[in-house]
Amino acid sequence: MANPSENNPSGIPVRPHTYDGIQEYDNRLPNWWLFTLYITIAFSIVYWFYYHISGVGATDEEKLAVALQQVEEARKASAVGDLDDAKLWAMSRDDAVVAAGREVFETNCVACHLASLRGKEESPAAIGPSLVDSEWIHGGNPMDIRNTVSNGVLEKGMPAWGTVLGDQKVAEVVAYILSHHDAPAGN
């Protein structure tokens, strides 16, 4: 290598020792590089103090408890008004509600109960029972159905959809199921 010190902008000569022809300059550490190092160290000290010595910083679990509390309040605030069998029957005759319910059903329920709602009745390979026959395993009143959808029947493999779909969508999907049944007289 021909006199590389000429090419070193900082004018620092190469170190005397060479390794298999490889030479080394001894340039200063770049300042911005040093600052980067120092800043990360300083940040680490402050962070550690904040979370692990002072006890001020909240843990993940504490933050989660607060957040879940807020969700609970929001859920109460936005709760669908009191439902009863009559209201659910009424919803099942409302085309807009039923259409919304069908959408929910087709996204979440068809895997087990099939698009026909007939489940095992249509195909023995299906996992869920039929929802259009007259047999109800967990109660056939609209509020019973809502309860089954919302809280699930874990031992039978029915998941709890209440926390997944929210009360509004649960009511809509129940309305959709009821729309396949005849409303009792008086509703």
Partner: protein, 775 residues
């Protein structure tokens, strides 16, 4: 120069062998990568065959890429450069050959056992225990060969490349052995000695530092030799080499827990993982700076020499990856990125951009010299570069889109935050499908470039003849030995030790110990700084003497890499269980569930499913209550996972009925439309292997899992009873499966997930409650 002048001929034959092996295994590893990426898009490519499913091939891809491809590349570069830097032929031809053939044999054994489903169930540590022992032995062969060569060197002073090689050899040996400690249950199966959170911590101490000391430090050493050689310029800064080397080897070891952020790992360990990752940013960039700034005055070579292109791009990708790494380690960023494709993109920025590009540069530079000819086609090498670069950019960019997209969708809520916006996991998978397809394209382009390299090197070899390098050297008397006193009783070491000791005492000490340590820490740091300004020259002399003494140097490297592991791992594996477990303790698996769990591990389910719910609202809504440390404390190995290509399974037990699981495992699309999961039809027909079940339970007992004393008959009776119960329940749903089939065991395991725990109050806490007096 005194001493006798002799001519030595280098052992370049072994370098040629490793070079060819690396090119071959590189192609295999990358091909496997492109294939499994395609499987994620087209589930049909799993072919319903056990040994071709994603869960078994992904470990093949990672192990081949890391240990076969980069391993052989590293050995080629280290053996070639070390002979020249030490002016000595490799110490033993026998050991060199043993190293080469032993390593290839290990790779072949891995390539056979992984698709067959023999797995330890830990990422990048899947190989079964007999192979583990072979790896450790061959690594020791490598170490003896290397250090023996150092001992016979005719160049007193150790060049920076050698420092990195030393750190690599020592640290990989330490990491590999500790993370592979297991107790065999038979010839092909074992359980790791660590369980649950301990196993998670040890695994990522290993996993992260496999990246550090297998994929980074040896390649930095290679950069320090071949980059200055290729551009014929002096290295930018010796001082920077010294500072960034020591910071890197000391800090890297601490960063492992950043793979476990927001999990049940104790908070203090998570914070250490995050903070040391941040502090790693500058030391990593020190290497990048020394690489890139060495090009000053020689940037024109970038136009003419393809290997320089690869080196420069490689070092740049190294800089990018080592910036992205600390970024992803920040807890709030990690909350989004973890378990998503973002991590996959990050890894490939490093492995394709840094490792494979440095390998290409190395091979294009080495081959003509090893076969005494010219590179067959510079044009083809240039084309390889652009194909490769474009491939990486497509790959990384698509993962940058895909990871955050899926992460945001999974955490999105609706209706005032009361429900999930995308309750169906498959919706988020569907959203990133175009990105996953782009990834395949990027990988295929990169692979095409690699085939061009293979062809180019093959043609180069054909046009030349193998020659061994030679060098005339003066055999000199060895440098005066550096005693222990001179090594340790000197300013640089004492100050460093003081800062580490007082730093730890400040961080972990209580009350006055912490305050006093902080004061001492400040005092030591300031006096070290002042002392360096005043008598830096004497520090330099000490260091230069150290460079002439490989044994003290190696000792200091060992101490530097040892500290982080000791501080993080020892407390967690030695304390009593009561102090680790918070409020829940795991109930051991029944014999049937244990068999099911081993099937889960065999099929590599952990490659796509985590079992660790983080304490976030969206995760709690989607998967259930967040995971507690005690719930997996008896899991040998732990199965927390690192990626969610499918949903988390920590609490999947009871969520669906048995019938759903049978249908889903037989054909995932039948229950989850749009799923990309492979089908597992053989689980319904294959009998579960239970011959070694009593041996497995015995080993679990040795490991501390509280199984009652059971005779073999009792174990099998329990197994049959539970299996018949599940088969009976399935019959009630019109599904007929014999109780001895694998799927019955797997269903038993899955249905227990999230339910196998009981409330736990540590003995100490119970005692305190009893004695507490109400005023």
């Amino acid at each position: 120069m005194s001493g006798q002048k002799v001519t030595i001929e280098f052992n370049d034959r072994i370098v040629r062998m490793f070079l060819i092996a690396s090119i071959f295994w590189g192609a295999v590893g990358m091909l496997a990568g492109v294939f499994i990426a395609a499987q994620l898009n087209f589930h049909i490519l799993n072919f319903d065959m056990p040994w071709l499913t994603f869960g078994r091939l992904r470990p093949l891809h990672t192990n081949a890429s890391i240990f076969a491809f980069v391993g052989n590349m590293m050995f080629a570069g280290i053996y070639h450069s070390t002979q020249r830097l030490t002016k000595a032929r490799l110490a033993s031809d026998f050991l060199s050959n043993l190293h080469f053939w032993g390593w290839q044999l290990i790779i072949v054994a891995a390539a056979i056992t992984l698709p067959l489903g023999f797995s330890r169930g830990k990422e990048y540590a899947e190989l079964i225990w007999p192979i583990n022992i072979a790896v450790a032995l061959i690594w020791v062969v490598f170490a003896i060969n290397f250090f023996w060569t150092l001992a016979r060197r005719n160049e007193k002073s150790l060049y920076v490349a050698i420092w990195f090689y030393i750190a690599t050899i020592i640290t990989v040996a330490m990491l590999y052995i500790v993370n592979h400690l297991s107790i065999p249950t038979g010839l092909l199966h074992s359980y790791p000695i660590f369980g649950g959170v301990q196993d998670a911590l040890v695994q990522w101490w290993y996993g992260h530092n496999a990246v550090a000391f297998f994929l980074t430090t040896p390649i930095l050493g290679i950069m320090y030799y071949y980059l200055p050689k290729a551009v014929e310029r002096p290295v930018y800064s010796y001082r920077l080499s010294v500072v960034h080397f020591w910071l890197l080897v000391f800090i890297y070891i601490w960063a492992g827990p950043h793979h476990l952020l927001h999990t049940a790992l104790p908070d203090w360990l998570q914070s250490l993982g995050m903070l040391f990752s941040l502090m790693l940013w500058a030391p990593s960039w020190g290497g990048m700076l020394n690489g890139l700034l060495t090009l000053r005055g020689a940037w024109d070579k970038l136009r003419t020499e393809p290997e320089v292109k690869f080196f420069v791009a490689g070092v740049t990708f190294y800089g990018m990856a080592t910036f992205e790494g600390p970024l992803l380690s920040i807890k709030s960023v990690n909350a989004l990125s973890h378990y998503t494709d973002w991590t996959i993109g990050h890894v490939h920025g490093g492995s394709l951009g840094w490792n494979a590009f440095m390998a290409a540069g190395l091979f294009y530079w080495l081959a003509p010299r090893l076969w005494n000819t010219k590179l067959y086609s510079k044009a083809a090498a240039n084309m390889h570069f652009w194909l490769g670069l474009f491939g990486i950019l497509l790959y990384v960019a698509s993962m940058w889109v895909s990871g955050p997209t899926q992460g945001l969708m999974l955490s999105a809520t609706a209706e005032n935050g009361t429900i999930l916006k995308y309750p169906n996991f498959v919706e988020t998978l569907t959203a990133i499908r175009p990105m996953m397809l782009t990834r395949v394209l990027g990988g295929a382009l990169f692979l095409t470039g690699w085939f061009m390299l293979a062809w180019n090197i093959f043609m180069t070899i054909r046009s030349g003849r193998a020659v061994n390098g030679a060098m005339e050297v003066y055999q000199e008397a060895p440098a005066p030995a550096m005693g222990l006193k001179r090594t340790f009783i000197d300013a640089p070491f004492l100050y460093s030790a003081g800062i580490v000791v007082f730093g730890c005492a400040w961080a972990f000490g209580s009350d006055w110990v912490s305050v006093l340590s902080l004061i001492l820490l400040v005092v030591v740091s300031i006096s070290a700084f002042v002392h360096l300004q005043v008598s830096g020259a004497s520090w330099g002399e000490w260091y230069e003497q150290l460079l002439e003494n490989s044994l003290p140097f190696t000792l200091l490297v060992t101490i530097a890499v040892f500290v982080g592991g000791v501080v993080q791992i020892v407390p967690l594996v030695t304390v009593e269980q009561d102090q680790v477990v918070e409020d829940r303790i795991q109930i051991p698996y029944t014999p049937l569930e244990l068999v099911g769990r081993d099937i889960y591990i065999r099929e590599g389910c952990y490659n796509c499913h985590s079992q660790q719910i983080r304490p976030f609202v969206a995760e709690v809504m989607r998967y259930g209550d967040y995971s507690r440390l005690g719930e997996s404390i008896y899991d040998h190995p732990y199965q927390w996972g690192s990626k969610r290509t499918g949903p988390d399974l920590a609490r999947v037990g009871g969520k669906y009925n048995h019938a759903w699981h049978v249908r889903h495992l037989e054909n995932p699309r039948s229950t989850s439309e749009g799923s990309n999961m492979p089908a597992y039809p053989w689980l319904l027909t294959d009998k579960a292997g239970i011959d070694d079940l009593p041996a497995k339970i015995r080993v679990q007992r040795i490991l501390g899992v509280p199984y009652p004393e059971m005779s073999d008959e009792e174990i099998y009776a329990q197994y049959r009873q539970q299996a018949e119960k599940i088969a009976g329940e399935l019959q009630g749903m019109d599904i007929y499966v014999e109780p001895d089939r694998e799927i019955i065991a797997l269903i038993a395991y899955l249905q227990g997930l999230g339910k196998k725990w009981e409330p736990y109050a540590p003995a100490a806490a119970q005692a305190a409650e009893k004695t507490e007096v109400v005023p």
